[in-house]
Symmetry: D2
Subunit: 357 residues, 4 copies
């Protein structure tokens, strides 16, 4: 009954089985094992184009390493003010790039918009020695607000990005959830729409610790392997990273897992929005729900043992609820039943009591 | 029959079991799970003193992060010229410290010696603004030459290190092998001898990907968690790192594994040194053997399917042979039998044939 | 007739004379000359407290080096969105700190305000490993909008800064103009109000290339000399930097120069604001004027050979006009006469003509 | 009578005059003044080829900035163990490159030799992810031992450097002295011999604080201006840097100054080597002398007020004596007379007296 995040989950059984299988016998280290060697072909199949892929263990590493080959130390990386790379990585992009600057945009519902980006790039200071130089754009798919960029939206952003000779990065920590939501192919929402480099997340959707940095623009990949090694992200027993990613994209596991998570979120959101006083902050397009609920309902849920985060502060009545590949339908049902139960209490009374304190 | 390295091994069954056990249920991320929470107490027990311990997934990360809190960007880190941090990490210490300089010493058999260190520190340029400033000493235990520092040797190095107000780091990628070799307690060879920070390796000795950065000098640990996060080495599903380390130090698994590896190395070394033309480069004190063998023997072993590295160049007749926690006794026996068989061939003939090519 | 910036000026005669005097005979390098040796005492007198002072040649170096000892690589530096360190130094603070993040506030008239800072620091993420850690606040005195922080304003900002255990930096590229504007002592507006480190600018106000980094909080200065050397900002012939700073603070030259510049700005502003269609963007409190003028007036001034910048874009009708220590009264008079002359032309006609082109 | 270094000198009168001339009127900042604008053509004339040149104020900045565009963060820079960049810049190359590693060679008389470089590059680990990647070679002309590379020596080093796809940097802090010593054209000893980037020193040879970073391989210069700005080395009043460099190369001032310095060194060396017990460490080919002298002579010279450094330690009897553009012939004569005088004293007696103290 833990809706705090999709990273509170364990490992999907298919991936645990793959780790056990990978454990047979000796294997050459640092990616020279058979599983790692066949990974690139499998990802190229998945994306319907030749890609270069580098497994790493965390999303912060994947994002920061990707950006380190897309922006020089004096570069500017355009991203949403609420993006994970800007807010939740303790400055990892700055560290890996040698000090590039994250220039933030503040689009609604966690997304950046082509028109805003165009306006910012029009006065970017490109070529002027006093200013950091435009280098890359990063968008998060699905976004940190649980919304999803459409193919057209990504395409428009990519067009402006490339028109200014910048590269486009997609932080896909919840890429699977976005693909399911869009119902498109992974190719359509990435390179066909203009994405140069994708952080292909697996950890939140069933892996133990595995992300793939996927280069559609392979010329950008040239120095990646040195940067990965030098940051301590080249695993000696690489087979165990590769095996996770291989299992993840085998037999549509990643799609099936994300489809379940999205379905659970949709069910939960539908139930909650019918409650009096409930207000959905963003449309629920993936596996995250941001919703305002009456304080009495929140306190009741907490008392019943449900776990989740109040968003933006301990006194906030906005919750973030995250579903995952292994969220149980009965837990969603129980959550909704409890919410309804606490909702029938006269919330005005409760709030009145609170204000007298 | 792969003697290339101890990182060609898979995962010890006890650790696979621990990963499976850790997979039960939801757990709070980023080290807020139960397993991670109890790790510090377990390591404190193991080392008989209060320690701070940070799990990370690779040895390079462990070393570089440890050094990043021990040396400022303008600092000097004294280490062996052949040390892993100097040669095999693609500049990770320089990256993590923001550009500190590794100043190398060249002691015999892979070790640095107190007298040499004293001589170098006596002319270190401390306090002179033109020179990088002495900050830390790093030694590898067991060393990259398969030798082991005695307690007295570490103590003497620590004394000089601290007399100059530097900190002492121990790269313990094969720490278990060293402890077994010395027959001492982990405390004796670390903090009691003067070590401030230890990279406690587990990956080479049976873990999937896990190392602990252990601070005996806890004041050095103050900023570590931010540096770990910002380098992408804070795992969201941290329980799977912690579970490896916990299993590793439970019921002396780490000691049993290393004892087996060392025993296999001793057997292999004893057999090989009796061959005509064999010459041991360094005394075998842990689980690595550096030995010169006749070319005919080497080629025979390769032809038989044994795998290992020629050391320092493809034409070298010096081999590195590494045993591990799961090296099978029958493989060692087979290796020795094959070596003896090829050794009886008239090597002059073979070499003669080669030179006619 | 160049009002582009105070850095289009040459060197004040008193400072040229000091350079010539400093050129007599041999002198030990790197600050071991007599002039450099006595500088600290002179600055301590000036500021009525013991200070440590480091001469460097540029404002960007002074600011970045100052911040590099005030914020760790994972630190956050709070500053105005339009501040020089954020906008005009090509990422120098990020470079020198090893990747700290500049977190921006957007107060009116180029200033940050205590209440806004308090609000931002209240949700700063201090102690949470995912976020960069609050480290320093930087304010610019006089501000980039030509306004000046009062003693009370600096005091209030300092109070909040220190309450959160951060340090306070003042970018004083135009510190002299601010001091003249306030009519206070240098001590009152710096350490007595809570400033920890000051970039004491001289270049814009008559020096050739000299700024002093002044530490009131001397414990912060500990590693400065190494950082200065390692960034290439320790001059071998240091006497020529020190001589500039010494002459600058001798016989109130810095105050006299700034007083003249401020007076010229006041005269210019007073004249321009009386023109029809003129709109002052910020109150003129130092030596910079930001003013909207009719396009016809701007074009007339340009045609007459006056030089200045259109602010924020080539089609902007907002000008920045900067006066300096050597701005001639007759040039100000000529500027105002020309502006009045072009102002009497029917601007509608002119604009009409333009649109027919 | 100060022979400590050529940086104890002031500024040549021709350069002081140029600074005064540059001080006339307003000038656009950051290199947009007329003097800065014509500098590139003048340097192109001097070197008989199209070059890009960037003025900076210090040699450490020039070297570190040059290397920052020649080596990636994971790069290796090959240089002499005693080179200024390795020993005397407090890690500036590491800072500016983002952590590249200086790999040292130990050739005699302060020089690296083609054969040694070839041997090191043959086992450089190029293309192997575990090792820093070969990127640049740096040699110092004249060397830190006061010796000079011949055109053939530079050519041979360049050939190997380029054969491995590395770039060749020349630290020319005393480039003028080397050119005079060789009697060749600046072109012959730089780009015609294969140098890609030159630090063209002026400070030690008569400038106040000015060096030019000269790119013969102009493609390397692409990002230089951003890196210079972001390190605080772009001067607002750039005309004063450019004016120094322009005067320095006008009417052969740089050659005349260096010729005098070299002549003074030759006279001094010739006189000293005739003394009993004198031993020259390196042949004197530029303006530096490294010589062992009897302790009694050294102490006598010190007592007479001559200043110089004991080299490598306060008890060393090896001296470094440096002459400069303004060394007076009578000072050299006086030095030699004093040395001869103290040399006739029975040095055994003197040392005996000392030991009784």
């Amino acid at each position: 009954m833990n809706f705090c995040s999709d990273n509170v989950t364990g490992v999907a059984p298919e991936i645990m089985a793959a780790l056990a299988a990978a454990n047979e016998g000796a294997a050459m280290p640092y990616g020279n094992d058979e599983c790692s060697q066949r990974l690139e072909a499998k990802f190229s199949d998945l994306f319907e184009t030749a890609v270069t892929v580098f497994p790493v263990a965390t999303g912060s590493a994947a994002n920061a390493l990707a950006l380190s080959v897309m922006a020089p130390p004096f570069g500017a990386i355009y991203c949403h003010a609420e993006s994970h790379i800007n807010v939740d990585e303790c400055g990892a992009p700055e560290f890996y790039t040698g000090g590039a600057k994250l220039v933030t945009l503040t689009g609604s519902h966690g997304k950046i918009y082509a028109a805003d980006l165009a306006a910012v790039l029009a006065r970017s200071g490109a070529g002027v020695v006093h200013h950091v130089q435009p280098a890359a754009v990063s968008l998060t798919q699905a976004s940190e607000a649980g919304t999803v960029y459409s193919v057209d939206e990504v395409h428009d952003i990519a067009e402006i990005t490339h028109a200014h000779s910048l590269s486009l990065h997609m932080d896909g920590a919840r890429f699977a959830n976005a693909v399911v939501s869009l119902g498109c192919s992974p190719a359509d929402i990435t390179w066909r729409a203009g994405v140069d480099v994708l952080t292909f997340g697996a950890t939140k959707n069933g892996a133990m610790a595995a992300e793939g940095v996927v280069f559609f623009n392979q010329s950008l990949a040239e120095t990646f392997s040195y940067r990965r090694k030098r940051s301590g992200h080249l695993f000696s027993k690489m087979r165990f990273l590769s095996a996770q990613l291989e299992a993840y994209i085998t037999d549509d596991l990643w799609i099936r897992n994300a489809a379940h998570a999205n379905q659970m979120a949709a069910t939960l959101a539908a139930g909650l929005t019918s409650l009096p006083g409930a207000h959905l902050c963003h449309s629920v397009e993936a596996n995250e729900i941001f919703i305002q609920l009456p304080e009495a309902v929140i306190e009741g849920l907490v008392a019943d043992g449900f776990r989740f985060y109040r968003w933006e502060g301990e006194h906030s009545t906005t919750l973030r609820l995250v579903t995952a590949f292994n969220t149980r339908e009965e837990d969603v049902t129980a959550f909704l039943e409890a919410a309804r139960r606490y909702s029938t209490v006269d919330s005005h009374t409760v709030l009145g009591e609170l204000t007298t304190v």
